[in-house]
Symmetry: C2
Subunit: 168 residues, 2 copies
DNA sequence: ATTAATTTTCAATATTTTTTGAAAATTCAG
DNA sequence: CTGAATTTTCAAAAAATATTGAAAATTAAT
């Protein structure tokens, strides 16, 4: 297979995967393009390569920066902004995990906290089921939480070398 | 807070969370409703409670069944179908993780396999970067894969008791 | 200070996804 | 078998989301 076809297929698959997981397809494609680019890349290049408008590219580049997945660099003597992706997939994945937890999961758990202690008969079977469900989710969340913290703190090498053996 | 308000808020939050993660909002809401319901529930009840059309409820119930998150039960003497959710959140989460891996991640990794061994000069910097990126993702994927298998195999109790301590 | 290059914004437009609702199919009691 | 109850299907409509493109804002060289 030729490089151009392979790149195209990777970008397209990465975009499809992203959109299945609630990440804007275009953002994922731009991320993919930067991941396979050997050097800094500017907005015009992305526009051409992925057939997108300037506005769209601009917005998604900013989202990618706010996710911490890419960064802006300048090339001396060039007025244009250039962008480059974090190439270490482990770091990128941890970055995404951390962010999504903070942005989406934490607010949910905060709401769950407000749903404990109903001012109703705790003997009622519906009240009971509700309380049990909320408590179950909270317990699960706190477990997952601690696990994620642990994984994030651990560096990849320790994780690969020692921890992963536990899951053989 | 009153039960009805709390239920409503839980259902709405669960739906919003689902849609952020690529899960149909309505499906997540129906799932939430079943999670907080103390007994089997039929389509008409869901239609009324969540203000949805019969077709929509029917389709999403079937999706939930295909995800393995709910099951159909019958009530003797009643022609209607009834539904009940798996209430163990640990089990539900593992079910979702397993399914999404199989349905969405595995196909992606299969594609990545096809993108190795380009018929081009491996010394070229773009070819090099492409190969490195693909290889990096594959390595990460296989680590995550083994970890997920391990977690799925472990039952919740062992996980909570022994493994989680590693992440203190 | 001027102006050309570049980036940003955002209302309008286009696309994708979800929902509806009624017809068709199925089920099952009598 | 009949027909009423229930479920399923799916084309059309609605809603949600993403994209465009051109005007406004910003930047920086002279």
């Amino acid at each position: 297979m030729k490089l151009q076809d392979a790149r195209q297929q990777f970008i397209s698959s990465w975009g499809a995967l992203g959109s299945q997981w609630g990440i804007n397809r275009t953002m994922a494609q731009i991320h993919a393009l930067l991941l396979v680019s050997s050097g800094p890349v500017n907005a015009d290049y992305i526009m051409t390569e992925l057939n997108l408008s300037r506005g769209n590219v601009n917005m998604n580049l900013h989202d990618l920066i706010s996710w911490g997945l890419i960064e802006k660099t300048i090339i001396p003597g060039d007025r244009k902004d250039y962008f480059i992706a974090e190439k270490d997939i482990w770091k990128a994945a941890m970055t995404i995990a951390k962010q999504r937890k903070q942005r989406e999961l934490d607010p949910m758990f905060k709401i769950l906290d407000q749903l404990t202690d109903l001012e109703e008969d705790p003997k009622d079977k519906d009240v009971k089921q509700f309380n049990e469900t909320i408590a179950g989710i909270q317990k699960f969340a706190s477990q997952a939480d601690r696990m994620l913290d642990g994984i994030i703190k651990a560096d990849q090498h320790w994780f690969t070398g020692s921890l992963l053996k536990l899951f053989k």
